[in-house]
Symmetry: C2
Subunit: 151 residues, 2 copies
Amino acid sequence: MPGHALLELESFLPYRLSVLSNTLSQAIARVYEKRFDLSVTEWRTMAVLGYRTDISAREVAERTAMDKVAISRAVARLMKKGLIERNTSRHDKRQSMLRLSDEGWKIYDQVVPLAIDHEKRLLSHLDVEEREWLARILDTLWKAELDEAMR
Amino acid sequence: MPGHALLELESFLPYRLSVLSNTLSQAIARVYEKRFDLSVTEWRTMAVLGYRTDISAREVAERTAMDKVAISRAVARLMKKGLIERNTSRHDKRQSMLRLSDEGWKIYDQVVPLAIDHEKRLLSHLDVEEREWLARILDTLWKAELDEAMR
DNA sequence: TCATTTTAGTTACAATTGAAACCACCCGCA
DNA sequence: TGCGGGTGGTTTCAATTGTAACTAAAATGA
């Protein structure tokens, strides 16, 4: 292939990040999908509500970087399963305040340790220095890219 | 919320990787989707064929970490657009040998610089030392996780 | 050799997703 | 007070995707 541009996928950063992160997410997702019948969107919604209670769907969307349609559907399913509760906000009748129900908290409390374990297992491949670098680097990229993405 | 497990999504590694990598992929994807009418799967297929020519769909699937149905569909679309060519292998009539067509190469040669630019722009937020650490760390995680994922 | 199992790739169908339209409500302002 | 534009959230419809079943061709092995 003479005279052609060359791109080696395996060493291309965005590609590697994508494959790695998908493999990772799927690995955890499989666990709570089978065990608790939760989709990724549903779990993320619950995760947000686990440490920010009584927030609106819009705010969930912001914090999870998912779009509002996805959240709307996740919320609907979680309501049907009785894992969250919704009260329309008194100040703005368009918004609803979401929170985990008792049932929701029960599941949340089971999934969180699994998630944390998973992260630990992942980090166990790295030494302390590597972990620090990784955290810092992700931080930098996160800020730079996300700012840019939002124009 | 007393007595409950705590998970801070924003500092949870798998989550951060996922959001970051999605933002990233979408940023490039938007460009070649609009400009060349290529889906992510299609582009990845082409990318592989750009530096490994005359390989089978199975091999493309392996190298892109996508599943065979996705590849089959991408290949069908790329064929229809005339961007790749397919010849059934003489040794094994189940397999087909795939390669970029002249048209395909033309597009490939336009997209590659865009992708590389994108990576450069991304890396520009990091200094040399950080880049080296990142590469090493991804390498480690890549090997550890992917091995594990394949059992 | 020929029956069994495995593999490459496609197809069919259901489930998931995304884009755009939509509804109800809020806000600013005349 | 009421109009125009914007926002939170849902719905609809079409496109994309995943799962499983399927076809055809190898490979295995008695």
